[in-house]
């Protein structure tokens, strides 16, 4: 216990507040057991403390109740028709953007070289022979019969190295999924034309070479050829090279 001298009440308050040391506490408790007046004072102070607690509890409940009532009474905000319209419009716009985004993502991830190739590829059709005046080569005949293995066999074994034969052998290779051979043949056609300054099967070779490059995932080579075809209005396959095709190739290249 410190050296200050306390009145009984001060001592009791310090006892109630738990501020006395052990020795002082024992002394107070001994006195409480024997001194009725001291005990009554203690009782009075305890009752006062209890009054404060009850008051505090009541105040707290009152504050919480008030807060709850304020929340329940809070007015519901009315939204004007203009704002409502704007909100609905924005919701629809957001939904559309989301759908468009999802569609783009779906297209992006499902796009493949084979898919683009199959969308654009059509078997090459030879012009119909008008008469028997011009005798068709064996390769042309085999090609008309869609006997692509025979076309390849005849080309490899034969002596017909015309641009038509080289090109048809290229298409036949393409039909049997031999990309390397097809690329080789189409390039041979282009090289021969360049050398002889002619245009025999030139447009066809360029277009089908570009398609073969696509299937072979050589997107840079394919794009180079396709850009060339797209800017050439007189190219036989100019209309076949669409902006969509170029966009798809760029996506494939980027991916």
């Amino acid at each position: 216990m410190d050296n200050f001298t306390y009145t009984d009440d001060e001592l009791l308050v310090r006892y109630i507040d738990g501020e006395l040391d052990k020795e002082a506490q024992v002394k107070v408790e001994e006195r409480l057991a024997t001194d009725t007046v001291f005990n009554n004072s203690y009782e009075g102070l305890l009752i006062s403390k209890e009054a404060v607690r009850q008051y505090g509890l009541k105040q707290k409940v009152s504050v919480i109740h008030k807060q709850m009532m304020q929340e329940q009474m809070a007015p519901v905000r009315q939204i004007g028709s203009g704002k409502k319209f704007l909100r609905y419009s924005l919701s629809i716009a957001a939904t559309l953007v989301l759908l468009a985004g999802s569609l783009m993502l779906y297209n992006f991830f499902t796009l493949s070289a084979d898919k683009v190739f199959n969308l654009k590829y059509q078997s090459y059709n030879l012009a119909t022979a008008r008469s028997n005046e011009t005798k068709e080569s064996h390769i042309v005949k085999a090609y008309r019969e869609k006997n692509f293995l025979e076309v390849t066999k005849l080309f490899d074994a034969g002596t017909d190295k015309s641009n038509e034969a080289i090109f048809l052998a290229g298409i036949a290779a393409l039909e049997v999924n031999n990309n390397a051979k097809a690329i080789n043949n189409f390039r041979m056609v282009l090289a021969a034309n360049q050398q002889l300054k002619q245009k025999l099967f030139n447009d066809e070779a360029e277009y089908y070479l570009a398609l073969t490059y696509i299937r072979n995932a050589d997107y840079d080579f394919a794009l180079e050829l396709l850009y060339k075809i797209r800017v050439d209005q007189n190219h036989s396959y100019n209309k076949s090279v669409t902006a969509k095709l170029l966009r798809q190739l760029k996506m494939l290249k980027w991916r």
Binding site: D9, A51, V52, G56, I64
Partner: protein, 114 residues
């Protein structure tokens, strides 16, 4: 609207938690509550007779259980000793007010001793 509703529910939850915590105070035994309206009103009217400073100090110390140094920060008093002296005087004043209301004093006494 649903966001506002969520916020409102969130606030209600916080409030309930706060209330629950208040109930969980070791000193706050709900068995020892004034359960009649008259008794509650009597306590309020007696404590309300104290000054604002007295009420504040007593509530912070005996209800909120704040330490003296925090009460010094929450009031304009110079130090803990000054607050301690003030608290003593306030408690004595309240004791005298209760002396003048024997019924309430008896009710509180009964509450105190269960």
């Amino acid at each position: 609207m649903w966001l506002n509703e969520l916020k409102r529910e969130g606030r209600a939850l916080v409030r309930e938690e706060k209330f629950e915590k208040g109930q969980e105070r070791p000193e706050m035994d709900f068995g020892l509550q004034l359960d009649d309206r008259e008794g509650k009103q009597a306590v309020i009217s007696v404590v309300e007779q104290l000054g604002e400073t007295c009420k504040k100090i007593l509530i912070l110390f005996y209800y909120e259980n704040l330490p003296m140094k925090d009460i010094v920060g929450a009031t304009n008093f110079e130090n803990e000793q000054v607050v301690r002296n003030k608290k003593y005087k306030c408690l004595k004043q309240l004791e005298q007010l209760l002396e003048a209301n024997p019924t309430l004093k008896e009710t509180l006494k009964n509450l105190l001793h269960g």
